[in-house]
């Protein structure tokens, strides 16, 4: 009885941590981008101010019921993914609600948000939103394949579908999965580029093409919800990568360092890249990332 209440409390705490860390990371990425671009850049807490301002907007126009659901679905998806991802190794507070088979559940729940967003964006009636959503879904078809392949390779290699088991294996054996199944890591990292939607895969909200895509009709509180769900989701994904490949983390500091390193891959790659077209992006994901995914599965099966 105790443990389930502790776990629920832990989920709330990890949500707060995820929100804070995700927002700070996005602020830091803005700062780092600015430094690359030869300028001072906003303070690292700028995203909190933006969120506060968006939350304090006094009017929020909407075009129907479904538009409420778009951001809500995104939020639900992010929080649910966060809930089943253990944040720390053997942590009482941060182990969250994971169970056996959560890796497969995670694959489903991560797609849930964008689909809900598609419904919400469809209701707004803005053609930019509609095109943005179709782009987003097609891109998802692209990066899901190497991502699923990488996870399947892990499942085959270690005969488990539980994230906690994978973490325990890494702790027990003393090596990280990045070394014991490198191809899966490569495929997963390449898929991650698409997941984070930084350049060159920011085709969903491309401002110069679609005027911010699915978000075009969402201002104020809708945008606030989307922003916070994006930051929670970012943290969840980063934690998942650390859990799966970098041996998890035994305390928050270690987690922050590892997630930040992973987070810098899409950010820094994005700073110097133009944007792909939709079909080019899909072709990219079905090229080398899928090849590495296949290699990972072969590696897992035969070694």
């Amino acid at each position: 009885m105790d443990s389930i209440w502790f776990k629920l409390l832990g989920v709330v705490v990890s949500f707060i941590v995820a929100f804070t860390v995700g927002m700070t990371y996005m602020g830091l990425s803005r700062k780092i981008t600015a430094r690359v671009q030869n300028r001072k850049g906003p303070p690292f807490y700028q995203n909190f101010i933006d969120a506060m301002k968006l939350g304090s907007k006094t009017s929020a126009i909407h075009h129907g019921v479904m538009q409420h659901f778009g951001p809500a679905f995104l939020m639900v998806s992010s929080v649910m993914s966060l809930m089943i991802i253990p944040v720390l190794n053997n942590g009482m507070w941060f182990s969250n609600l994971n169970f056996h088979g959560d890796l497969i559940f995670l694959l489903y729940i991560m797609v849930f948000g964008p689909l809900g967003m598609a419904l919400g964006a469809g209701q707004t009636g803005n053609p930019n939103s509609a095109i943005g959503v179709t782009r987003g879904l097609s891109q998802m078809v692209g990066f899901e394949i190497p991502w699923v392949m990488a996870l399947v390779a892990l499942m085959i290699q270690y005969h488990t579908t539980s994230i906690v088991d994978l973490m325990n294996i890494q702790v027990e054996s003393g090596t990280w999965l990045i070394f014991s199944s490198p191809f899966a890591f490569i495929a997963a990292v390449l898929a991650m580029l698409g997941m984070f939607r930084y350049s060159p895969f920011d085709i969903v909200g491309a401002p110069t093409e679609l005027a911010s895509g699915p978000m075009s009709e969402n201002g104020g509180k809708y945008l606030f919800t989307m922003m916070s769900s994006a930051s929670v989701f970012a943290f969840a994904k980063l934690t998942l990568y650390v859990d799966l490949f970098l041996g998890g983390a035994s305390n928050l500091i270690e987690l922050l360092i590892k997630t930040f390193v992973i987070y810098m891959i899409p950010v820094l790659y994005g700073v110097v890249s133009p944007r792909y077209r939709t079909e080019q992006s899909i072709r990219y994901f079905w090229g080398w990332p899928t090849f590495f995914g296949l290699l990972a599965i072969l590696y897992a099966v035969f070694f």
Partner: protein, 381 residues
């Protein structure tokens, strides 16, 4: 089989009816300025493009009929804001042609310097716009930031960052301030260094190449006929430059090349512009080296009473976007009978754009507009 064909045709018609109308602009971050492109889109492909302009129509030419010959200059530089000097130059030269006024040699060199600096500044903006349209914002931050150094030169020489009103009939408004030549050369050294960085970021970038090659192709044999001018025409492989073909000022005494590139797509245009930045720097160095001393201004009479002989003149200048011309007609009075401005965007931005966009991807509209150098104030005036 026949039934199948009919069915197929019906489906196609249905699809065409369902084609989404996408309004790009007037409020849209991807549009170069304040204009609108109405797109009929099937999936991601454009089937029809219609431009709508007029959001910036200020009736310059009407207002110039109410101003005297010199007062027009305040209006002229607002024709196309990124690069106002070619317009001033065209007007000044048209007035000089009509009146037969001589320009001192030094003034001609200073004018060339101004034009080339303006060209550089405009290319810096283009670097930003072209890459911003493709999502590479870092480039815009660099190049637009570096453009400020050129604007500083303008400010020191003319007093204004954007609007100069510096090239006048009969010469230029004032001479170089002390130590200006050194500053120009230092800025050129800096820019030369930076242009290499730009190349690393932009032209060596595989994604940039993928996005631009084969997009927005202008056929070479049709290009001249369609009214394509400037770097866009040179990107089709045709060596055409008013600085060479119809030389003005002292361009025939300077040594520079007119770069061309084959292909006619955005990539070819970008290659041409990449070389032209270097050529401009080269010209500026030569001007600083060769500039003679002497008078910089052949004074005009009291502008309130200054009349031009009856007749008309047309002068053209090579700007970044292409041919920029001014037609003036005089009835012998103190005010113009008619001033008519010809901008490259007048052709590029409407008929050519509407034509090029058909069959392209929605994602490329902004990139094509930027590569054509569409400048809406030039269309609408």
């Amino acid at each position: 089989m026949k039934k199948y064909l009919i069915l197929q045709k019906n489906i196609q018609d249905k699809m065409r009816e369902k084609a989404t109308t996408l309004y790009l602009g007037p409020q849209h971050p991807g549009i170069t300025g304040n204009m609108m492109v109405r797109l009929k889109v099937e999936g991601d492909t454009i089937v029809k493009a219609t431009t709508e302009v007029g959001y910036l129509h200020r009736a310059f030419e009407k207002l110039q009929e109410k101003r005297n010959w010199l007062q027009s200059f305040t209006l002229l530089c607002r024709f196309c804001v990124p690069e106002p000097d070619p317009v001033e130059e065209s007007y000044a030269r048209a007035v000089e042609l009509l009146e037969g006024r001589e320009v001192p040699e030094r003034a001609k060199y200073i004018r060339v310097l101004m034009l080339e600096l303006a060209r550089l500044g405009s290319y810096m903006l283009w670097y930003g716009g072209q890459n911003g349209s493709l999502g590479l914002y870092t480039m815009g931050q660099w190049s637009v930031g570096d453009r400020n150094y050129i604007l500083d030169l303008f400010e020191e020489l003319t007093g204004g960052r954007i609007y100069h009103m510096y090239i006048w009939p009969g010469g230029v408004r004032r001479d170089f301030p002390e130590g200006f030549e050194d500053k120009v050369l230092r800025t050129m050294d800096y820019l030369e260094k930076r242009v290499k960085d730009y190349d690393d970021l932009m032209f060596d970038n595989a994604i940039f190449q993928k996005r631009t090659q084969g997009v927005g192709i202008i056929p070479k044999e049709k290009a001249v006929e369609w009214g394509v001018v400037g770097p866009v025409l040179r990107g089709c492989g045709i060596r055409s430059d008013i600085r060479i073909d119809d030389p003005y000022e002292v361009y025939d005494k300077l040594d520079f090349e007119v770069p061309t590139a084959e292909g006619g797509d955005i990539w070819a245009r970008a290659l041409v512009r990449r070389q032209e930045v270097r050529q401009s720097i080269k010209i500026i160095r030569q001007v600083i080296e060769k500039i003679p001393s002497g008078d910089y201004y052949n004074p005009i009479p009291n502008p309130q009473k200054w009349t031009l002989p009856k007749g008309d003149a047309y002068a053209r200048t090579e700007a970044v976007r292409g041919e920029v011309g001014i037609f003036i007609a005089s009835d012998g009075g103190t005010k113009p009978r008619r001033v008519h401005f010809r901008g490259a965007a007048y052709v590029h931005g409407i008929t050519l754009l509407e034509n090029l966009l058909v069959g392209e991807n929605v994602a490329d509209v902004s990139a094509i507009m930027n590569s054509l150098g569409t400048c809406p104030p030039e269309i609408e005036r």
